[in-house]
């Protein structure tokens, strides 16, 4: 007995010795990691933990939240007037990393120390209900944010974060209504007019849209760039959520997208690109021959504008007529209303800073003055009907990029029509898997039945609880 204990000890010692010799090679470097900055947070007062996947909200917060006193040089913390330290935890999205970590943190929230508890976390629309439908997210009413406070917000932004019991569990400073941005020159060639109202008339429903696609094709243009361009316009206008119980019910409107896209692809009405690939970006530029793009607020004044220039602004080009096709785009509402993008603020259950969380939500998403300022400064379209309509009514407000058109007026109209009451917890997986499965069909690799089968396989892998997929007749 004693002997074995002794030899165990010897083994342990040997192990320690080896470790120490091995460590000397890297000791100078590893020692730094052990000195965690533990002491500072305890005495300085409250800590507000905010989790997000990029620095978008961080910059809005730092620039516009009234209580901000000081931003740390490395931006990892923000100090508020009342002494609270806001601690930013930013985990990139790649490989689902943000959700993986957020999930673990929320599940461990009850056991976490007060200063480590998540107070605020941000989510995107496609997976919003995963968090909204859980007890880990607080009802904003319980924080003290009233319906009256949020009365000025667009309804669809509230639909997306309304749980099964009708409680609103998040709020956003952004609205991201989508429009159809078309090339004036191509519209003139195809339709004989570039007037937004007349173009809208020609594109006001999908049948008309498809007719224009044919006309555009005859003139040597493509109607759309790729497969996914119109997807959101269809998927935002479904008659029911993706999943009922444990059954996936593929909506008729989604199948309409399949039909349209297959037709467009086989007839050469599109360029077979995918969102964000280089063909898609090139199609938006001076060499593009594509009639138009479905784009929402952020996309038009930034991505589309940037792609339209011949010489980028950073390389000395000016955002003005003459540089590439600046000024050749205009916007209209298109066949159906939709939105694209957006970030919601949620309060985590167990937060020890409920009042502060409520104030952050109120100031950034319900305060018309702040929202209007954000729009004027950053061109971000904000979630405040009153503020946006003030800009929409301003006769002097217009976008040079869109040939002087007041796009905010159109956005303001479009945003009110969006209906997201059919948003569901499975949207992210269903939309992604559906588009992926049918891409093969559009490419002509497989039959429509194989595409359906592949979707069924993929969706059951993603969500094991789903048992059946029902297709419309």
């Amino acid at each position: 007995m004693r002997k074995s204990a002794k030899s165990l000890l010897a083994l342990a010692l040997a192990g320690a010795m080896v470790l120490s010799t091995a460590a000397c090679g890297s000791s100078s470097t590893t020692s730094e990691t052990t000195e965690a900055p533990a002491a500072e947070s305890a005495e300085a007062g409250k800590v507000l933990n905010i989790w997000c996947w990029n620095d978008e909200f961080q910059s809005r917060f730092n620039d516009y939240y009234p209580g901000v006193k000081e931003v740390a040089e490395d931006k990892s913390t923000t100090t508020l007037e009342d002494g609270t330290t806001v601690k930013w935890t930013i985990n990139p999205n790649e490989n689902n990393n943000y959700q993986n970590k957020l999930d673990e943190a929320l599940l461990g929230q009850a056991d976490a120390a007060a200063d480590d508890k998540i107070d605020i976390f941000l989510i995107e629309a496609d997976y919003a209900l995963k968090y909204v439908n859980s007890d880990y997210t607080m009802n904003v009413a319980d924080l003290g944010l009233t319906e009256e406070d949020m009365a000025g917000q667009y309804q669809y932004t509230k639909d997306i974060v309304t749980d099964d019991n009708g409680a609103i569990k998040g709020t956003t400073w952004q609205a991201t209504p989508g429009l159809f941005a078309y090339r004036r020159s191509i519209a003139k060639d195809v339709l004989g007019t570039d007037d937004p109202e007349k173009v809208q008339e020609a594109l006001s429903d999908w049948d008309k849209f498809n007719d224009v696609a044919e006309q555009a094709h005859e003139k040597g243009y493509k109607m759309l760039s790729g497969y996914d361009d119109s997807y959101r316009t269809f998927s935002n206008n479904v008659s029911a959520p993706w999943v009922e119980g444990t059954t996936v019910k593929v909506d008729e409107n989604i199948m309409n997208w399949v039909e349209q896209t297959k037709e467009f692809t086989d007839n050469g009405y599109n360029n077979k690109s995918s969102l964000w690939d280089d063909q898609w970006a090139a199609d938006q530029g001076p060499k593009g021959k594509v009639f138009g793009f479905f784009y929402s607020t952020w996309g038009i004044n930034f991505t589309l504008l940037g792609n339209s220039l011949e010489t980028p602004e950073d390389e000395g080009g000016k955002a003005e007529v003459g540089n590439g096709i600046f000024g050749d785009y205009a916007v209209c509402e298109g066949p159906q209303s939709y939105y694209w993008g957006g970030t919601w603020i949620c309060a985590a259950t167990g937060t020890d800073n409920a009042d502060l969380v409520k104030d952050v939500m109120y100031q950034l998403t319900c305060n018309a003055d702040i929202d209007k300022q954000i729009t004027l400064d950053t061109q971000d379209y904000t979630n405040n009907m009153q503020a946006m309509e003030e800009i929409a009514a301003d006769p002097d407000f217009g976008s040079d990029f869109l040939g002087g058109q007041n796009h905010v007026a159109l956005f303001a109209e479009a945003a009110k029509k969006i209906d997201m009451s059919n948003a569901g917890a499975y949207d992210q997986g269903c939309n992604e898997k559906f588009q992926a499965a049918f891409k093969d069909y559009f490419d002509g690799n497989i039959s429509i039945d194989d595409a359906k089968a592949n979707f069924e396989t993929a969706i059951k892998e993603t969500y094991p609880e789903l048992t059946e997929v029902v297709w419309p007749d």
Binding site: V18, T33, N54, D74, K75, N91, N95, D278, P312, D314
Partner: protein, 283 residues
Amino acid sequence: MRQKNENAHPIFTLFVHLVLIFLAFLCLFFFYILLINSTRNHFDIQKGFSFLPGTSFVSNFKKVMADANIPVLSGIKNSLIVSSASAILATYFSALTAYGLYAYDFKLKKPAFVFIMLILAMPTQVSALGFVRLVDRMHMMNTLWPLFLPSIAAPAVFYFMYSYIQSSLPMELVEAARMDGCGEFMTFNRIVLPIMKPAMAVQAIFSFVGAWNNYFIPALVISDNNKKTLPILIAALRSADFLKFDMGKVYMLITIAIIPIIIVYLLLSRYIVDGVTLGGVKE
């Protein structure tokens, strides 16, 4: 006959050179485009490929360095710590284990060997999430430790070391050292390690590179900005919001991230150039 064999046929030699030049071109070509893309503006990159540089090198560089959420220098430091520690731990302990299994006879020798061969076959992707939960329970979340400590058990490195030691280490040398009164550890550190140096250098490169480019586990373990390694920072740039999403910045950071590793590689590559000999028949 000998005369004829002294040198290879010139046409054959030419052919060899052509193949080598082609392969070298393929290998370096990707560095060239990386560099080119780091000089181009986001919108130019988005619109497609170019063989010619743009004029945004300086502005891309400034943008990356000015982004307070992307601490490049601490990223380089953290990556260096993790990668060096991984390389050192993996090579040292694999050599130690290989020597232990080679030089000593003990009851569990064969089972131990088979066991390591078995875990060589273990899919690592699988236990990743389990590993992260373990790290959490050990209170090592958000530290660099769990990123390199597991390298102590690197079965593939061990297997290579074992093959090497088998052919390069005469036991007579060990016995002679023992005669001289060397302790077992001293024998290993003073006699065996120097013999294994070339093999260790090669595996050190491989381990270093593997750790340098690792994203999955580090991204799950690390949350604090000042502890993030370079691949996490690159991923962070790639998940920027649309207003800030900038491929020029992404390529610039990739280029910056590749410089230290090229330097480390070139420093260690003399072992590759001089040639690691496996099998100890030294003249």
